[in-house]
């Protein structure tokens, strides 16, 4: 068992036009920058991207949007310090937005990974984000029915990985990454350090390897926030 890929380019090579791609991270924390940039190099089009945000500056997801790869974005908060990449295209009607409350977004992804096709949440009841969705009352309280969210691919950033695909995460870079890892046909993880089997304490594993298909070691990964402070651009 060895899920290791030699390069990010090989790991994302089969992401196809029209695919749904989940991308981990919350802002720059936990964003798999090297996998995203490899995907930009590969250049698939008409992607539906699931991410909490909509990119910042001109690297990572923002750069994907600038390259015109993203047809639709499913996110909770498409604002950032420098949201121009998304904002311009959104206001021009060139990109579709499905705005989802953050907890509902997380739960929909978790449901996709857990085989739960639909669930009820109080969130968004009585608001325009709950409109046109089925509702039901439980114990006298109204709820909105939400559907699972799945993807063809998930790009996640982890700290340690082993050949079985077991992963740990660094600090608050965990966020959406473990959820998205469960909800995609192919989960591709960049890890800052690939250790041998047994190199992660079984009690410390956050994402068990069954959820991970491919691993690429990217030592010293770039951080979106730091790149943006340096006004970096990709490509």
């Amino acid at each position: 068992m060895n899920k290791r890929f030699a390069t990010a380019a090989e790991a994302v090579a089969d992401v196809f036009d029209g695919a749904t791609v989940m991308i981990g991270g919350f802002g720059g924390s936990g964003a798999p920058i090297e996998l995203i940039h490899a995907l930009i190099d590969a250049g698939p089009k008409n992607l539906t991207v699931v991410n909490n945000n909509a990119g910042n500056g001109h690297v990572g997801l923002a750069a994907m949007i600038e390259q015109g790869m993203v047809r639709k974005l499913i996110c909770s908060f498409p604002k950032s310090k420098d949201p121009k990449a998304f904002t311009d295209r959104y206001l021009a009607g060139e990109i579709e937005l499905e705005l989802v409350p953050q907890g509902t977004l997380a739960e929909r992804i978790r449901a996709g990974g857990a085989g739960i096709p639909a669930f009820y949440t109080p969130t968004a009841y009585g608001t325009e984000l709950g409109e046109k969705k089925p509702t039901a009352e439980f114990d006298g309280k109204p709820y909105v029915q939400e559907r699972w969210l799945k993807a063809d691919f998930a790009l996640v950033k982890a700290e340690l990985g082993d050949p079985y695909g077991n992963l740990t995460y660094r600090l608050a870079a965990r966020n959406f990454n473990p959820l998205m890892a469960t909800a995609a046909g192919k989960t591709i993880a960049q890890v800052s350090r690939l250790v041998e089997a047994g190199g992660i304490d079984p009690e410390a594993v956050v994402t068990p390897g069954i959820f991970v298909n491919r691993l690429v070691e990217i030592a010293n990964p770039r951080q979106e926030e730091v790149l943006n402070q340096a006004e970096a651009r990709y490509p």
């Binding site: 924390s29 908060f77 950032s80 984000l129 608050a172 990454n177």
Partner: protein
């Protein structure tokens, strides 16, 4: 009407901090509400939660000391206190939606006397963004709002019914404004005045409030703290 001696944002945040109990689990919304943390009362230890998966975080690090994998929901760098924990986003919102948070403190565009809150979108223009606000208002045991009493052009923010898109229905239980502290009696859809600035008359306060202010018993004096 220009009202003298209104509380500034720091002073409103200070007032809200007085109501946070020792050991409370608290989520502070991005921006203005974040200021509440700075006024934590000596001897009390609230535990701050941020949607992106941290419990028990502390102050911002010194400039240059930031670790950008360690941020809050506003994407600002934070530090940890002893006893902190990391968790994923599903767990984070399980805490919120599952009723484990004691207090959520948010900003507002409008609060209605039935507890409805509008704070995420002004209209159809621009890019809409909601974040975790809709989850917070439906999950926290107590949902409080910090806000100037009126808009920049003097219109009431406390209203009979929200005209902006709603964040949640019947969710806000207390509002801290630049002029007063007001409870929301959701069941009876009415504002109940708790405290007001001492020099402000009931009539003047009512005149800048978009729904009737009810009084039950004594109205307290809203303290004007001197903050350094």
């Amino acid at each position: 009407m220009t009202i003298q001696g209104q509380l500034g944002q720091e002073q409103i945040a200070w007032r809200a901090a007085q109501d946070i109990e020792d050991g409370a689990y608290v989520n502070l919304g991005i921006g203005f509400p974040e200021k509440v943390a700075a006024y934590t009362i000596e001897g009390r230890e609230p535990i701050f939660h941020t949607e992106n998966g941290v419990l028990g975080f502390g102050r911002a690090p010194a400039k240059g000391e930031e670790d950008w994998d360690l941020i809050n929901a506003g994407k600002k760098a934070i530090t940890l206190k002893p006893g902190a924990a990391f968790f994923d986003h599903a767990t984070s919102f399980a805490m919120i939606r599952g009723g484990h948070l004691d207090v959520a403190i948010l900003g507002a565009l409008q609060v209605a006397s039935n507890g409805d809150l509008a704070n995420w979108r002004v209209g159809d223009k621009g890019v809409p963004a909601v974040g975790g606000a809709m989850d917070l208002v439906n999950g926290a045991k107590r949902v409080a709002v910090l806000t100037d009493h009126v808009t920049k052009d003097g219109k009431p923010k406390l209203v009979e019914a929200c005209t902006f898109p709603l964040t949640g229905v019947g969710c806000v239980t207390r509002v801290y404004t630049s002029l007063a502290v007001i409870d929301v009696d959701i069941a009876n859809a009415r504002f109940v005045l708790v405290e007001k600035l001492a020099h402000l008359s009931m009539d003047d306060l009512q005149s800048v409030t978009g729904a009737k202010l009810h009084v039950e018993g004594d109205v307290g004096e809203l303290e004007v703290p001197e903050l350094s």
